[in-house]
Symmetry: C2
Subunit: 324 residues, 2 copies
Amino acid sequence: GSAIGQTVDPDQAKQIFGVLPRIAENPQNPVTPEKVALGKSLYFERRLSKSSSISCSSCHDLGMAGADGLSTSLGYRWQLGPRNAPSVLNAALEFTQFWDGRAKDVEEQAKGPIVNPKEMAATKELVVQRLKSIPEYVDAFHKAFPGEKDPVSFDNTANAIAAFERTLLTPSRFDRFIAGNTAILTEEEKQGLNTFVSVGCTTCHNGVDVGGGSFQKFGAIHKVDWLKDLGRYEVTKNEADKYVFKVPSLRNVALTAPYFNDGSVWSLEEAVKTMAYAQLGRTLTDAEAKRIVAFLHTLSADPALVVPPPVLPPSSLSTPKPMP
Amino acid sequence: GSAIGQTVDPDQAKQIFGVLPRIAENPQNPVTPEKVALGKSLYFERRLSKSSSISCSSCHDLGMAGADGLSTSLGYRWQLGPRNAPSVLNAALEFTQFWDGRAKDVEEQAKGPIVNPKEMAATKELVVQRLKSIPEYVDAFHKAFPGEKDPVSFDNTANAIAAFERTLLTPSRFDRFIAGNTAILTEEEKQGLNTFVSVGCTTCHNGVDVGGGSFQKFGAIHKVDWLKDLGRYEVTKNEADKYVFKVPSLRNVALTAPYFNDGSVWSLEEAVKTMAYAQLGRTLTDAEAKRIVAFLHTLSADPALVVPPPVLPPSSLSTPKPMP
Ligand SMILES: [Ca+2]
Ligand SMILES: [Ca+2]
């Protein structure tokens, strides 16, 4: 036995988390069917990378809950990155992007990996040259960005991909509970929710993405001895930002091991216990931790998201060759 | 102007090529819905590779007509292979597998890349250990191989993947022409067919896959000076087999550049001219070559094949970790 905490009913849950929208809108980059169709192709388009062998999908596989199942991701020439790939599912809802919040939204974020020498390793010019060499893409850009004289641009590539990402929101059983269906969760899952709230996880993991709404220090109460990444500090150079990271969304968390910004923890139960201790100074009992883990499983996409893949247009003779 | 050759009507075409079946059956490995569903997941399953980052789909992307758009493929630790990845589309219909025919069917072929140190670099034991650690896969193997006490095996992994591949047949506009719809091809495409037959391409590119039915020397009439790969010789050690390769299928050829066993030719027109000269001792006019290229475009999947991707089950704590 252990403290379960008072019962959290759907209305209280709605106060804490809110209601998952159908699409993560961005007035600056309206989500239109044409932009989403183009963005989907570009999301799977390996020719956005120098080697023509790496796409967004390589590290954010929609069949693997939008991540890659690795501790840290593999990029250009098999270079191992420093950080764990978060899921792209529901990412567009978050207040900022990347573990250190260095991009303000998915539009800005999408530019990063394409020109990151350790990831897709392309240049803006190479991307535009490749896309302009493929007639079907030129047509698709004109349809997605009507009225623009020269729509095939690096920015529009990111905007189209971002529009696609803005559709990747995954309703879960927990969302049905928030909507009033109390039978959708098991007794254990409900107790897990109660514990999740009562021990204080929702201090940081709140809002529609169960996180993704603020920066917090990892090691707020007790220092995390194995943690090396300085997080937000690398962006702000502000001492107070050392070990400060965006609070990650816990949607689909049961499907996106390994955990934390370096993907060093494979067990969700261990991650939960680490959190309780490092962030709340609390040592959970096994029963408490297992209950919370049961609740976290209710945050997985239900039904699972199945995105029909694009059929990609062939290169033309003027398409710059792959550079592996 | 140039010789177009006598008109080839649907019935004559049916004599030369035959009718594309719906599925490429194999009595030794019956294609059942359960096996195909499991095989589809395994086709996209990166955890069949040592690094957990490479799957069949990495080099045979169904959104890229079943190939990877590279001259030769990139494998484990970015190792560049010696040969061009053929399309898996329609491959199951061919009389043998691999450019040098070293595997008799797709069941035998599927085992190759999984344990090839330059490709997926796994071992049979690692594959079985990973799959047995994932409950959803154990269930799926029992469903796909009912009656077997211990169905989760390396052989059954290949059998399931092969069953999925046996469903990847792509009807084209040309198949509709063979069925009697003469309006489906343009005048130029019909002339291309006539030329394709009259100059003698169908001596080797015949049958339901427009190839894939025999071994032939690349350089049958004129030596191909840039060709290094000894082909079938490496399997048989028979002098006569030097530079002998399986005649590739030309289905989807307009979508699977670059061409030849080393992926060294990006232009389909150039590949056609090379063929005419090296295999038939004939120098095609530009008009003849362009007409044949127009015909080859009618062999592309129509409608394009769109396979709903699988949702892959998460690892468990006992799943052997990725080894990048
Ligand atoms: Ca993760
Ligand atoms: Ca090819």
